[in-house]
Structures are given as structure tokens and as C-alpha cells.
């Protein structure tokens, strides 16, 4: 029987997660209070992440450009291949999936530890005593805010990556800007950008809701909060990778 305990626990966790989501998507009590929270979360989860997204994307774009140039380009390959491959990697996988994995670390741990700390310091109990639906008030604005901001972050990421690639080409002098531009514009499909944005919306929901679940159900003190943050990041990352596989097949297969 002990063998099945982890399976039963996992099923119970999934059940609790959906129960919590049921409470999260209940009708809000005071919309203006939720809107205030939503605006705060836009800044905290979205705007405050712009810097790290730009920085990472810039350098990854630059590195991808160098790697492709060094490892793939040959006299047999057309010169546009570096720009083309860099763009495809950025648009199709890096800026949506990998960037969301990075954001799962930054934003996910932030959400889990914030809500977890509110749980252990009885702030959530205080909300409940007042008659506020604490799950909805605390979690819904975070989910909506992250889902609002993430497509923008994806676009910023692609842009920063392309700029990074240009900087390498220009400063490093590894190839001409004309070749890179030609490659980046070559056979461009707008749908790929939409795919990236659609995937990121799912990932945003996963990051915010899963992290909020782990934070909301914290037990114990600071150790519990630390564990919740770690669990939130690990579980969000696993679910992002899994759903990436499914979504890529569904959208592009």
C-alpha cells in the first residue's frame, strides 16, 4: 500500500490545486480593489522583469549568433543561415519557453514566498476573517497580470536577442550586418510569433497559478516558505517543459 502513497498524494495535490482554482475564479467582491492589485502586480511581476529579460536575451542572442557562425556556417551553406537560425531559435523556443523557465525562477519563487509569508504571518487568516475570498483576491490579479505582461516580455526578448546578434556581428566583426539582416528576414512567418505568444500565455498561467498554490498551502514557518518556493519553481518548470511539448505539437505539428 505504501507503494501507492506518492500516487495518492499527487492525485490529492492535483485535486487541491483545482479546488483552489475554483475559489480563485469566483466572482470578485470589489472590482476596483482587484484592479488596484492587478496594476501593482503588472509592475511587480511584469515591469520589474523587463530588465532581466532584456539582459539575458541580449547575451543569448549574441551567443547564438557566434555559435551558429562558428559551427554551422560553411562554404556549402548560404550566408543567410546564421541570421535565419538565430531568429528561429529566438522566436520558436528561447523567447517563449526558455525565457518562461527563467521567469518561473524569478516570478514563481516571488509569488510562492510572498503568499507563503502571508500564510505563516496570518495575513491570509485576517483576510478570511474579514469575509474576503483570500484566494481570489491574492491570486487572480497575479495570474491576470502575468498573462498580460508575458507576451510583451516575449516580444522584448526576441527584439533584445536580435539586437544582441547584431552587436556581435558589428562589434565582433564576425559577419556583415547585411547578411545577418537578410537571414533574419528570410522566410519569416508571422504565425511563429503568434505561436510563441500563445505558448507564453499558457506558461504564464502555469507559473502564476502553480506558484500561488504552493504559497497558499504553506505549512509551518520559514522552512515551509523556503520549501514552497523551491517546489513552485521545480513544478512550474516541469509543467512548462511538458506543456511546451504538447503545445508545440498542437500549434505547429
Amino acid at each position: 500500500m505504501k507503494l501507492f502513497t506518492p500516487i495518492f498524494n499527487s492525485i490529492a495535490t492535483v485535486g487541491k490545486y483545482f479546488q483552489l482554482m475554483g475559489r480563485v475564479f469566483a466572482r470578485p467582491e470589489r472590482l476596483h480593489m482587484y484592479f488596484k492589485q492587478y496594476v501593482n502586480e503588472l509592475v511587480k511581476l511584469g515591469v520589474d522583469s523587463v530588465g532581466i529579460v532584456l539582459l539575458i536575451s541580449f547575451f543569448i542572442g549574441a551567443v547564438i549568433c557566434i555559435q551558429i557562425k562558428l559551427n554551422i556556417e560553411s562554404p556549402w551553406m548560404p550566408r543567410m543561415v546564421v541570421g535565419y537560425t538565430t531568429r528561429e531559435i529566438l522566436v520558436l523556443e528561447f523567447s517563449s519557453s526558455i525565457m518562461c523557465l527563467i521567469l518561473a525562477g524569478k516570478v514563481g519563487s516571488n509569488i510562492a514566498s510572498e503568499i507563503g509569508t502571508m500564510r505563516v504571518t496570518q495575513q491570509i487568516d485576517a483576510l478570511e476573517i474579514m469575509g474576503v475570498n483570500s484566494a481570489s483576491y491574492l491570486i487572480l490579479p497575479k495570474i491576470v497580470a502575468l498573462m498580460t505582461m508575458i507576451p510583451l516580455l516575449v516580444i522584448f526578448s526576441v527584439t533584445a536577442g536580435v539586437i544582441g546578434a547584431y552587436c556581435t556581428a558589428w562589434i565582433g566583426g564576425i559577419m556583415s550586418a547585411e547578411d545577418l539582416t537578410y537571414g533574419i528576414q528570410y522566410s519569416f512567418q508571422e504565425w511563429f510569433v503568434w505561436c510563441s505568444c500563445i505558448k507564453s500565455l499558457f506558461f504564464a498561467f502555469i507559473i502564476s497559478s502553480v506558484s500561488a498554490y504552493f504559497g497558499y498551502t504553506v505549512e509551518g514557518g520559514s522552512i515551509g516558505v523556503g520549501k514552497a518556493s523551491t517546489d513552485a519553481v521545480v513544478m512550474s518548470s516541469v509543467l512548462i517543459l511538458f506543456s511546451d511539448l504538447v503545445l508545440t505539437q498542437l500549434l505547429m505539428g
Partner: protein, 257 residues
């Protein structure tokens, strides 16, 4: 009036509360006292509905909280104010915003009226000057006073305080006790306080329920404390030599009288 009847609560087959019966009096300061781990906080959490008991009734003016519908429960909660052991102020909000929070959430008043009401509550706890500060910038005693102001913002019928004096020095504890007692009589609130602070017991205990190992052991008022004959209660109250001396003097005085 809040009445609890035959209340039972257990965690993983361990009884934490068994057969608790008590009537909390209206417009009075009712104390639940007992050692740490005796079940005081669990009892209070059951009374406010944060925990569901296994058996029993919790009656708010005759309405049973346990069998109440979700909507009724929500409405009842708007008649409650609670001060938590850790004050439980919202870190991201200023002192004024913390007190305004229940008003923003449930009141139909205009913004100006809500600010005025919050400032009135802060003034009642002598903290108007700290309204712009954040919880992390004020002392523990001040945080408790802000929690009191927030709890009374919506004119509650019932006020619950879970160890309001924990972590405070004796002088600040007295201030908090007097404040809670004053508010209780001023606004006719039914107040229930969880405490193991002897100053509170002897100072503001209009009605006292002593629980030990989850069982109701003694019931009385602050005036009955020195004449109680319950051994467990006496062991708890007169744990210090100082209080034992006070008790002997009290008994001697009564005998001489």
C-alpha cells in the same frame, strides 16, 4: 451572544478540544485562558470559523456557524473583527491603508468618508501620527494597536483577540488591555481574548474560561480567581511565588473581614 455547546476538535486522532461548553457574554471582555498548547487558539479558530470542529455547536445569537450557508457565514464575518498574535498587518500597505482595507472592501462610503473613519479609528488607538508609516517601520505594540483599529473599522459586533499581549512589555500590555476593554464597553462589543497573561486575567477578565488539555476546567470572573478551588486552575494561576503570596494575603484579608 456567542455560545458553544459540546465542542470537539481533533487532529490526526489526537483530541485537542473535548466537550467545551461556554457562553460568552455580550458587551463584556471574555477570556479564554490556559497553558501554551492547551487548545486556546484552536478553540478560537473554531469559534471564528477558521477550523471546522468535529462535533458541537457554535451559536452566534442563536445562529449556528457550523451549519450556516456560505453566504450567511460571509455576512457574519463582516460582524467580526480579529486581532492576531502577530498583528497580521498587510506589509505592502501603510498603516492608514491597513485600517482602510475592510472599509474599501465592504463599505459603501465615499473615499473621503472612508479615510475619515480610518483616521478616527487610528485616533482612538492614539496612532494618528503613524498613519503614513508601514508596518515594518513601527513597534510591535504599535502594530497591535493598528490591528485593533483595523478590527473596529467596520463597527464589529464581535471582537476576537488571539494573545494580543504576546511579545509585548508589561506596560504596553496594559495599554493594549485597557484599549480592548475600553472599546468593548464603549461600542458594546462581545470580546473574546485568548491569553495567558495574568495582568489581563486580573485586570479585564469579566468572564473567564480556563481550559487545560482541551477540556473545560474552570469558569468564573476576575473576582473569583483568588477563591478558586480547582487545583489545575490554581497551579496555572499561582505558578509564580509572587502570586502565591498575593493569594495568601487575599485569603487572610477575607478571613479577617
Amino acid at each position: 451572544m456567542i455560545e458553544i455547546k459540546s465542542l470537539y476538535k481533533s487532529f490526526e486522532n489526537t483530541d485537542v478540544l473535548s466537550n467545551i461548553n461556554f457562553q460568552f457574554e455580550n458587551s463584556k471582555t471574555n477570556l479564554i485562558i490556559g497553558q501554551s498548547g492547551s487548545g486556546k487558539t484552536v478553540l478560537m479558530k473554531c469559534i471564528v470559523g477558521l477550523l471546522d470542529p468535529e462535533k458541537g455547536e457554535i451559536l452566534y445569537d442563536g445562529r449556528d456557524l457550523i451549519t450556516m450557508k456560505k453566504k450567511e457565514k460571509k455576512e457574519l464575518r463582516r460582524e467580526m473583527g480579529m486581532i492576531f498574535q502577530s498583528a497580521a498587518l498587510f506589509d505592502s500597505l501603510s498603516v492608514l491603508e491597513n485600517v482602510m482595507f475592510p472599509l474599501d472592501m465592504f463599505s459603501t462610503k465615499t473615499y473621503r468618508e472612508r479615510v475619515k473613519r480610518a483616521q478616527f479609528c487610528l485616533d482612538r488607538v492614539n496612532l494618528l501620527e503613524a498613519q503614513g508609516k508601514y508596518p515594518a517601520e513601527i513597534s510591535g505594540g504599535m502594530q497591535k494597536r493598528v490591528a485593533i483599529a483595523r478590527a473596529i473599522a467596520l463597527n464589529p459586533k464581535y471582537l476576537f483577540c488571539d494573545e494580543p499581549n504576546s511579545g509585548l512589555d508589561p506596560k504596553t500590555s496594559l495599554v493594549i488591555d485597557e484599549l480592548i476593554h475600553g472599546i468593548t464597553t464603549e461600542y458594546n462589543i462581545t470580546t473574546i481574548i485568548n491569553t495567558h497573561d495574568m495582568n489581563s486575567v486580573l485586570g479585564i477578565g469579566d468572564s473567564i474560561l480556563f481550559i487545560c488539555d482541551g477540556k473545560e476546567e474552570w469558569v468564573g470572573t476576575k473576582d473569583d480567581v483568588f477563591t478558586a478551588t480547582n487545583k489545575k486552575f490554581n497551579d496555572f494561576i499561582f505558578a509564580s511565588d509572587l502570586l502565591k503570596k498575593v493569594k495568601l494575603e487575599e485569603i487572610r484579608e477575607q478571613y479577617e473581614r
